[in-house]
Amino acid sequence: MEYSILILILPLLGFLTLGLAGTRLKGKTAGYVGTALLALAALTAYCTAAQYFNLPRIDGIRPSLRPFNWEWMRFTEHLHIDLGILLDPISVMMLVVITTVSLMVHIYSLGYMEGERGFQRYYAFLGLFTFSMSGLVVATNIFQMYIFWELVGVSSYLLIGFYYTKPEAVAASKKAFIVTRFADLFFLIGILLVSYFTRTFDFGLLCSGDSALFASAMGKTFMGAAVLSWATALIFIGAAGKSAMFPLHIWLPDAMEGPTPVSALIHAATMVVAGVFLVARLFPVYYFFTPEVLHGIAYIAAFTALYAAIVACVQTDIKRVLAFSTISQIGFMLVALGVSGMNGHEGTGYMAAMFHLFTHAMFKALLFLGAGAIIHTVHSNEMSRMGGLRKAMPLTHITFLAACLALAGIPPFSGFFSKDEILSAVFAFSPWMGAGMTFIAALTAFYMFRLYYNIFWGKPAEHEHPLHEAPASMTSPLLFLALISLVAGFLPFGKFVSSNGLEYIIHLDVRIAVGSVVIAIAAIFAARSLYRNGTSAVPDKMAGFFGVFHKAAKNRFYIDEIYQFITHKIIFRCISRPLAWFDRHIIDGFLNGLACITGKGSLAFRWMQTGNLQSYALLMIGGCLLLLFWVLFL
């Protein structure tokens, strides 16, 4: 399966050609080149997946293949950094997700980004992102993953700041980069800690569950906790930064300043689930050696899911609602991972997290692309500028509705199946948490249909020009993704991906399924009665009833302000200012002093340089005579 390297090479090739020669390409050529290369990459990924999942199981377990493993930097016997390709169920599944969504976004952008300044730059960055993300999921060792992890961060930064003349976009890209980079610092420390004790970076060894590997870390503690717990917790902080877990989620809503297809690709479907992927990749380490960290992940993720769902209910910017919904859904995935066990029925959570990752990528990309089509027509992100769009944009309406139903967990859409697995895993872990997650699922249905009714129903807003349906290049990806969202739930996902590699057969837990569907439908009807006409006074009354709470939720519970306070008032004032003062006055002062002394000194000698040839000659002769005198008489 050596050809799987093409999945990485083709987008990279696209990035290099479009990046270096893109400005010479006229019109939409750059887009066609990028899309064609990506289509080939997607095809390769499908071939890889088809071949991989048809390979015979070894002892009932899917094999983990390495078509490539190239030793890149060798420092010592144990310390070497490899670059390679690791094919196992989750990486192959991720490759399919990444290339599919990326291809859809490429096609969609042909219509959405048409005529934009920097069209070819946009496609070059998309290629770079696809390359880095594929490299991340196929990494054979944790260090390679870290390298691609950073590359993904860079391409996300470049794409958020694509409209670099807009100050908000620039600020958002900076914020995203700094927050994720800050988290990555902890990730790096975690990697170094783990590899220091295990003497390897390799995923194959780390995930073998071999306790001899971690023997040197056993019994060592730091500040009252085992060193290994610290290490895996630090790695999770890196994952939380990328996956926008509370309290490192603040960059994701702002990242919506980027072009909408980018939000679909990076900030909904692929990059933000890198953290989930990382935890899934290192799942045996978490499960066997630091189960308490795994449970901590579950609690953090559950809290994040609740927080983001509440905030999503009151946002008015369509993309921000979707952004908070993404945060909430990633919370769902991480909760499922956190409560998962290893074998048999206990491993439901792991399978469910991966399943939800897969289905969520598809329908959330669909939601963002649909939102992009709406924004393209309405020229605004605000819900108040929309309303009654179902007649003007029938295709967008249908596909958006399909995605909303999938996200709300209504059968037979894919979200129902994956969310139901998550809920049953959580109920098995703790009924209280399961009830909480069901409530969050109901909130999800509520805010999605609040969005849906506000956009497509209600009274239309005034527009200067007639509204129109998006072009075919934009609607065809919508239809394709809607189709996937409709049928993906019927995939026997447990046959492909499971925690221990054995085949896992999904069976719906009828009680949980019926319960969650009923509560979701109730939430949908609540949203319908509140927002369908757009004239109901109940929402305002409810806002008044909740008062302070509503205002706080609208301001995202002031988390950004708290960060602002900490960074500006505490870090900048108490640490950065004195450091800047020291730098400016002590270090610069010393060097400036040196320069000043040299300058003054040379001015003092300046009179000697008369520029007169003969005075130089006189001085020289005088010097010679002095030397002569010295030699002869002293």
Binding site: T610, N612, L613, Q614, L618, I621
Partner: protein, 105 residues
Amino acid sequence: MEPIISMEYYLIVSSIMFFAGIYGFITRRNLIAILISIELVLTSTDINFAVFNRFLFPHQLEGMFFSLFSIGVSAAETAVAIAIIINIYRNIKNVEVRNIKKLKD
């Protein structure tokens, strides 16, 4: 054969030439005159070479050759100096040394 004029007289002449050259180099205002002064200095050293060779090592010829060599060098140097002076003249229309202070500014 003992030379008629003893060595000291030659050296007196060459010393006078040398210091006259230096005096001229420092005091003259005209570049051509300065160049002539330099020639005086060089010629006085040539005389010294020849004289010391003649009186101290009568059976060898190194001093003579060295003065020939030095004459050749001074001829070349004069050619270069004249070329520079002509260029200066073309630029500032005179050859006064006090007007050449460009390097200072």
